[in-house]
Amino acid sequence: MATIADSIKTHTKLEHADQRAVLTGTHFMNGDAAACEGALAAGARFAAGYPITPSTEIVERFASRAPQVGGLFIQMEDELAASITLQGMVWAGQKSFTSTSGPGFSLMMEHIGYAAMTETPCVFFNVQRGGPSTGLPTLPAQGDMMQARFGSHGDYSLIALVPNSPQECFWLAVKAFNLAEQFRVPVMVMMDECVGHMTEKVVIPKAEEIEIFPRRAPSKPPGEFLAYGEIGEDLVPEMASAGEGYKIYVTGMTHDKRGYPLGNAEAQRILVGRQFEKLRRAEAELTLIDEDHMDDADVAVVSYGITSRVAERAIQLARAKGIKVGRMRLQGVWPFPEKRFREVAQRIKAFVAPELNMGQVVLEVERCAGGHCRTIALPHAGGTVHRPLDILAAIEKGAQA
């Protein structure tokens, strides 16, 4: 997972992580700690946050680690502040992130939109807990999946990754920073309380085995460079930072190629259209699904995060009963890998989609199934995980369809 797909159509050259910040070795750590180490390996030296269970360990660890590598953590007065302070850090030329959970994530929504509109590469870790409102502060849920995609107002698109183990928290954190730089979008890492708090073996490789996508530097000198105008085939603009003499103008308003506010329908069509299109074009590269036994499957179990580990048990039990069941574990949920789901829907009997919410990602699964196969939702209000036997029953139902 260290490798970035070869399909990068850009002059940007991949780099390697800086060994001084990479905790190479075999560790026993929880998902929050591993996510923090992933951020450090990816090059993040600055972060802003506000404490909230069950995400706080990410920034607690970062507050201790960052000064050792020339950076810092700042605890802000609330999540409204944290979610934009980190963007100031990014425009100062650094890689930065914040971490939060449900109530804090709600407060961050406006600034996720700001990051999308200004094309600020940054990372938000959301360690999901039961909601709505204060909900279940210490217990798991996956109830913010639609919020991650649609929570800010207006039309935008972003990337959301979903790890299911501390080891994957490390790698998907690295990948989140890389994708943020590659596409200049905010990237959500949608953990859950179980994955954040479970402690497992985490192997961190040497820095030279960790590929880093650096900031897209301006190819033109000040005076010639347009802040939102130097756009390659992949529709992603180059990026200048503050203090480099480019006189950049960055605004959350609809803007032209110079970054200047331009309030009309045509400017809106061009800007929002390009911002959507840049991720749509990269669909193949952003299709991140861990599949198994999908060649002859009658039933596909679609799951992510902690739910995928419970589902794995159900898949084993179903196979022992002779049911042709395959695994589609989502490592990336947004943009939704539509094409792959449409293909699969043509030749299976049913998708079974357990998730720790009342039915969110399953709506996308059902949409892509388009009536070609059944979609069986397994909603759960959160607070604990599914029982494997309930998922098994749904698989059996799907196999009969």
Binding site: R20, F46, A48, P51, I52, T53, T56, E57, E60, R61, S64, P67, Q68, V69, G70, L72, I74, M76, E77, D78, L80, A81, A82, I84, T85, L86, Q87, G88, M89, V90, W91, A92, G93, Q94, S96, E110, H111, Y114, T134, P137, T138, S241, A242, G243, E244, G245, Y246, K247, I248, Y249, V250, T251, G252, M253, Y260, P261
Partner: protein
């Protein structure tokens, strides 16, 4: 802005502006442009490196100032200019970060950030243009609208008192606090120049006319009438206690430099605690005990 040029006189202020964006969006008689003139003269006076100067603003008429200055400019979300600027200032110590925004933005919706930024003492200069109203959205009452004033959302006069901003930021720990009006262009320029040279959290309030949306509803005449009013009503009292400078309708407007003190800024304090420089930390990490909070699980 082009009149001087038209008669063949070069206005040095123009060199510091994005002239392709002039004329500005501001109304005739608005005081915001006057403050910009003082600000640019302060930049000239202090030989400020324009490459490292970064203007950050929120939303509102005054939030557009940064967009006319010829430097890097970040027009952020409503009320959040200060936290964005905090990120810039911490992550690149070479930057000279100035937040230039209005009272509604900085003191009403962004009030919490204002308090904590003053307390935190990150290197930031905040210039608050106080026109006493939410102007861009059509003249609604703000936390700075004087008691009993008419506004579109206080048609019977405001029932809330306005906030004494210098007292607020003084109490929170700002190292430099001044207030001037748009009438005091020279004093404002001097304050801006002093504040540009200082480190830590510095704050300047500039009381400015908004003839279109504040004065009209309150029968206060045009921009010129406001200037005359400022001239008549203001009293310069440098060093005045900030608890004495609340602005009461019809009474004296106390202006001046109220606070100018020394306190280690955030990064200097952090570095003095942690070691001489970042490189040393990279090569020889300090032995920091890693502690994780227990938490009661309710938050």
């Amino acid at each position: 802005m082009s009149t001087l040029t038209e008669i063949g006189v070069h206005n040095p202020v123009e060199d510091f502006l994005r002239m392709e964006r002039i004329p500005s969006i501001w109304c005739p008689g608005c005081g915001i442009g006057t403050t910009v003139n003082s600000f640019v003269h302060a930049l000239i006076k202090t030989h400020t490196d324009m490459k490292k100067l970064v203007m950050v603003s929120g939303i509102g008429c005054s939030g557009r100032v940064g967009g006319y200055i010829g430097t890097d400019h970040f027009h952020t979300t409503h009320g959040r200019a200060i936290p964005f600027a905090t990120g810039l200032s911490l992550a690149n110590t070479e930057l000279n970060v100035v937040v230039y925004s209005g009272d509604g933005d900085l003191v009403s919706i962004g009030g919490n950030h204002l308090i904590h930024a003053a307390r935190r003492n990150v290197n930031l200069l905040v210039i608050c243009v106080n026109n006493m109203i939410y102007a861009m959205t059509g003249g609604q009452a703000a936390a700075t609208t004087p008691a009993a004033s008419m506004s579109s959302t206080t048609p019977y006069g405001a029932f809330e008192p306005d906030i004494n901003i210098p007292q607020l930021v003084d109490a929170a720990g700002a190292v430099y606090v001044a207030r001037w009006t748009a009438f005091h262009v020279k004093q404002l320029e001097t304050s801006m120049a002093e504040a540009l040279k200082k480190k830590g959290f510095r704050f300047i309030e500039v009381v400015t006319p908004c003839p279109t949306l504040y004065q009209r509803r309150n029968n206060m005449g045009d921009g010129l009438a406001a200037m005359k009013d400022y001239k008549d009503r203001s009293k310069i009292r440098n060093g005045a206690g900030t608890h004495e400078v609340a602005m009461l309708p019809g009474e004296q407007i106390i202006v001046g430099k109220f606070v100018d003190r020394e306190r280690q800024d955030y990064l200097t304090l952090m570095r003095s605690r942690l070691g001489a420089n970042f490189q040393e930390w990279v090569d020889a990490p300090p032995q920091v005990e890693h502690e994780e909070g227990e938490g009661c699980g309710e938050c």
